[in-house]
Each structure stands twice: as C-alpha cells, then as structure tokens.
C-alpha cells in the first residue's frame, strides 16, 4: 500500500517541473505542454484523494480538468497558428505588442 502523501509528493514534483517549463522556455508549444504537465499533476492529486476517501467525486473533477485541458490546448494552438502566420515566430518573449 503506497501512502497518499507519496502521490502528493510526485504531484508536487510534476507541478514544479511544469512551472519551471512555463517560466523559462521561449517556445510557446513547450509552454503549452508544460501547462498540460501542471494540469496532470492536479489530476493525480484528485485521484489519489479519491482513492483514499473512497469517493468518486475526485475522479469526476479530474474528468472536468481533462475537458478544460483539451479546450485550452485547442484554443492555445489555434492562437499559436494565427500568431505564427502573422509574425513568423513561436517565441513567447517576441509577443510584445502590448508591452510598453
């Protein structure tokens, strides 16, 4: 039997890796993948607690998180394609039209 806090530790590790990816990478595609990593870490937490409390609600929440992740990936990649068509770059720090 693996204690729940081991799952929480794994989830925290995945979340931190995702945060590092979002904060340090320039390529928008990899930033979007890091966001998927973060959402996946959240799902792991929800499922681990669902297992511990023997309540299926955590898994339902995880399904909704997956839904939101799918919507976010679709819209994000759509924006990326539109942006690449206009500016010929995929670097996040070159999206600076609103920067003063």
């Amino acid at each position: 039997m693996v204690p729940t806090w081991h799952y929480l530790m794994l989830s925290a590790a995945l979340l931190t890796i995702g945060v590092i990816g979002v904060l340090t990478r320039r390529n928008i595609i990899i930033i979007l993948m890091s966001i998927e990593l973060i959402l996946n870490a959240v799902n792991l937490n929800l499922v681990a607690f669902s297992r511990q409390l023997a309540d299926v609600s955590g898994q339902i929440f995880a399904i909704f998180v997956i839904t939101v992740a799918a919507a976010e990936a679709a819209v994000g990649l759509g924006i990326l394609i539109a942006f690449f068509r206009n500016r010929d770059t995929v670097n996040a720090d070159e999206i600076d039209l609103l920067k003063w």
Partner: protein
C-alpha cells in the same frame, strides 16, 4: 517493499524523468514524445489508484487526442529558425529560484502534514465498479457541470476554428 510500492516508485521515476525531458529538449517533437511517456506513466498510476475509467480516458483523450494535436501543430509551424535560437528566456535565473522555493514549500507542507492528513484508508474494492459509479455520479450529482463542460467544448471548437482559419479577403 512489496509489488505495489515498487511499481509506484518505478512509474514515479519514469514520470519525473520524462517530465524533465519535456522542458529541457530543444526539439519540440522530442518534448511531445517525452510528454506522452509522462502521461502514460500517470495513466498507469491511475490504474494503481483504482481509477480504470480515468486511465482509459487519459490514454484515449490525452495521448490519442491532445498530443496528436500538438504533433500536428509542430509540423504545421516551421520551427527550423526557432531550433537554432536560444531556448530559455532572460529571466530563467529568477524563475529557477522561484520554482525552487515553490518546490521546497510544497515538499515541506506535504511532509509535515502527512500525519495530520492521515484520513482512514479506504479498503480495496471501495471504488468498484468504477465506470458505473462515475457514470451514475456524472449524470445525477454533476449533471449541470457536465452540460456546462459540453458548452465549453463547443466554444473552444468554434474559437479554435475561427483563430486558425486563413483570412480570405
């Protein structure tokens, strides 16, 4: 160490190592394939946590849907220039320190709270039959969020089509 623990540690190591590969590889295709390995390891952990339906959803939807979408976009977008550029932005030092602090805080909170959060462990087989329980819960207790999620997916679909469409003037 019994079989369940050994499986957990092996899968956790695979997930963390491939997650690190996701954020360090230069080529986005390699990142995407590492992310698929991470998602697969997490899906197997769901199986261990008695969430079979979610494990199947993870494989079909994440790996079969979202990651294929990512790979398609990587091939649509010409990345030859980006591959030869600097991969990390200027504030990576500050970002690294912030992420290190976040990791330390999370680890400390989880480790110190492991005793206080010691809720009674459910007996094996408590979440069975998994798919049936999820279906009942989803269509009874969570009916309204379920419908809102379908609306969200519709909006996302329209948005993605609108955004990625080529302007014809």
């Amino acid at each position: 160490m019994n079989f369940a623990q050994a499986t957990f540690y092996v899968l956790a190591a695979i997930a963390v190592v491939s997650a690190l590969l996701v954020i360090t590889r230069r080529n986005p295709v390699h990142s995407a394939i590492s992310l698929i390995v991470t998602l697969l390891a997490v899906a197997l952990l769901y199986l261990q946590l008695q969430a079979e339906f979610l494990a199947a959803v993870q494989i079909i939807l994440y790996i079969g849907g979202i990651m294929v979408l990512f790979l398609f976009v990587i091939m649509l977008v010409n990345l030859d220039v980006a591959l030869r550029q600097e991969q990390f932005n200027r504030q990576w030092g500050i970002a690294g320190v912030a992420a290190f602090l976040l990791a330390g805080e999370l680890a400390a909170v989880i480790y110190l709270g492991r005793g206080t959060a010691a809720l009674p462990q459910a007996p094996p087989g408590a979440l069975q039959p998994n798919t049936e329980l999820i279906g009942t819960s989803l269509y009874q207790t969570y009916m309204l969020p379920f419908e809102i999620a379908s609306l969200l997916l519709l909006v996302a679909m329209v948005g993605a089509v609108l955004m990625a469409r080529r302007k014809v003037s």
